[in-house]
């Protein structure tokens, strides 16, 4: 079929398919289900922060669930319909990029995008199944907000726009798995990431280095084997505590949930609040603290922030 050969040439990335985003500072974002429900504070603070930086994140129209857990089976094409359909939505807008906020959504979308682009036959079969949609041609780049902040906004620009320095706040940046692994979609070096540390430093905060920052939080084991998540979280949080952290920052609603709910609180250790990095970003950029959804978190970070007179 002539169609097949056309697909084959189209999905080769990095030659003819450079990003075609229309407005450099207006960019579609993929919220994901958690940000509309359990992690509203993340979406709200991200939008306010980007606004303060002069960028507009607009919600991808008609998006669906990212697919949640990336399927590792090479022939399980059904699991790629969700993510690829989202890429079609971005393509329909004529956008070459899609920003993800949730680390899990980022991971699934970015991997699925690579998966279908790596093999024209896979993409052809997925497009044939989605016969009610325009074909996905490949080439939509999935980026995480942290990448956008680092590579396009720039730490210098962020630092210049800080209205309320987070000076003296010791924050443990927690990466977990989804931002860094596998290496092909990692937004930074999986062994020694620095993007969150750099961002926190540009806000005036003091990033706390701790060895467990890229360990798994237990993820969905929290549902069926909560003791696994509990064990992981207790190691992670005590590692952050020993390093002197007052807050933990994350970009994953599932990590956030696990870290909040599985902390081991004893009489000699008070809980450490777990915030989204966008909440700290927006706060430093001058967005009033009462707009950032701190009250939606299970552990309140405001006692720490109010000690520094930030809220």
């Amino acid at each position: 079929m002539p169609d097949d050969t056309r697909h084959a040439s189209r999905v080769t990335r990095h030659d003819t398919l450079s990003p075609i985003t229309h407005h450099s500072s207006r960019i579609p974002y993929f919220p994901g289900c958690a940000l509309k429900d359990q992690a509203r504070a993340f979406e709200r603070s991200a939008q306010l922060a980007m606004q303060a930086l002069g960028w507009e994140l607009f919600e991808l129209p008609r998006w669906n669930c990212c697919g949640t857990v990336y399927s590792l089976a090479s022939d399980d094409l059904m699991r790629h319909l969700g993510p690829v359909r989202n890429l079609v939505r971005a393509q329909e807008l004529g956008e070459g990029r899609l920003v993800a906020l949730c680390a899990m959504c980022y991971n699934t979308l970015a991997r699925s995008s690579r998966f279908v682009e790596a093999d024209p036959e896979r993409l052809r079969r997925i497009n044939a199944f989605m016969d009610e949609e325009p074909d996905y041609r490949g080439g939509v780049e999935v980026v995480h907000l942290l990448q956008l902040l680092r590579d396009e906004v720039g730490y210098g620009e962020i630092e210049a726009k800080v209205a309320r320095s987070l000076e003296g706040v010791r924050v443990a940046p927690y990466y977990g798995c989804m931002l860094l692994r596998p290496r092909e979609v990692g937004i930074d070096d999986p062994d020694s990431p620095e993007v969150m540390e750099e961002l926190l430093s540009s806000l005036g905060a003091e990033p706390v280095e701790f060895p467990q920052r890229a360990e798994c939080c237990g993820a969905y084991q929290a549902v069926s084997r909560p003791e696994i998540a509990r064990g992981r979280v207790q190691e992670i949080v005590s590692s952050a505590r020993r390093a002197g952290a007052e807050l933990i920052a994350t970009s994953c609603p599932l990590c956030q949930f696990n870290l909040e709910t599985h902390q081991n609180v004893t009489h000699h250790s008070s809980p450490i609040a777990v915030v989204y990095f966008t909440q700290l970003l927006a706060l430093a950029l001058g967005v009033p603290g009462d707009q950032l959804g701190f009250e939606l978190l299970r552990l309140d970070p405001r006692p720490v922030l109010s000690k520094k007179e930030l809220v």
């Binding site: 429900d37 669930c65 697919g67 949640t68 699991r79 969700g82």
Partner: protein
């Protein structure tokens, strides 16, 4: 177009009034559960099945495209796709393979609406399988109402009750989505719960509150008692008189409505 309408009328006459088959000009062959029947062209699937001698005890209802009882699965000659429709709303085609779905054995949990928070957690509590949606869009393709059912399920997954309500408002609960879903979601029950939860959170408009106050104050009590004390004949006469005054029914139609008023489903 008038010619087509005449043909439809002509074809329908055979079924509705029992005219002699010799007056039917156009015929098609359909296969009902594998067996071939020659039926007048241009009639609906439901009429064709009755013409072939089937009598519906399930799988038929309002016959007007509203009740969702007559879900049908079929194929047409030369097309590999399994198609879905309402039997009362879809005309037969030559070479159609037909089967009626009398009932969808979907799980239907019971819940106390007053006790559940109006958000996504309630939907996932009663219908956790919503999280199994892989966005294949098979439900949307199956929907005889042309609803964007996958989008509605996706909105349910993220707890957007308003969006679910908007997208699923015209659902007639035929169950075809649930029968086709690879994730075994019962879309029509999920969206119904979402609509109920959403409806509960809406503020009640003033005109409704006013009317309820009138009813409670007894404004309609006398009229109600008068109707309740009438005989069937008096009620029928009253109905005819009032309809005639409104110009809604001609006298000939009024008696027919009374006779068939029970519906056929």
């Amino acid at each position: 177009m008038p010619e087509i309408m005449d043909r439809i009328k002509e074809a329908n006459q055979a079924v509705t009034t029992g005219l002699d088959d010799s007056t039917i000009k156009h015929w098609v062959t359909v296969y009902i559960m594998g067996k071939g029947y020659r039926v007048p062209a241009d009639i609906t699937i439901m009429q064709a099945m009755e013409y072939a001698g089937y009598r519906f005890v399930r799988g038929a209802g309002c016959r007007a495209g509203f009740c969702g009882a007559c879900a049908t699965v079929y194929r047409t000659a030369g097309d590999w796709r399994l198609k879905t429709a309402l039997a009362c709303q879809t005309r037969v085609e030559d070479g159609m393979y037909l089967v009626q779905i009398p009932f969808t054995p979907a799980e239907k949990p019971t819940y106390d609406l007053e006790k559940e928070p109006p958000d996504g957690t309630t939907l996932l509590k009663y219908f956790p399988e919503v999280a199994r949606c892989v966005a294949c869009n098979t439900c949307t393709k199956a929907c005889p109402q042309d609803l964007e059912m996958m989008d509605a399920i996706q909105a349910a997954l993220r707890g957007d009750l308003e969006e679910v309500t908007e997208l699923s408002f015209d659902c007639i609960q035929c169950g075809l989505c649930a029968m086709r879903c690879p994730a075994e979601i019962t879309h029509y029950h999920v969206t119904q719960l979402a609509r109920r939860l959403y409806g509960r959170t809406l503020s009640v408009p003033q005109h409704v509150l006013d009317r309820v106050a009138e009813i409670e104050a007894g404004k309609y009590e006398d009229e109600f008692q008068r109707l309740m004390s009438m005989s069937r004949e008096e009620l029928e006469e009253l109905y005819r008189t009032e309809q005639r005054e409104k110009g809604g029914l001609k006298s000939r139609d009024a008696s027919r409505v009374t006779r068939n008023g029970q519906g056929e489903g």
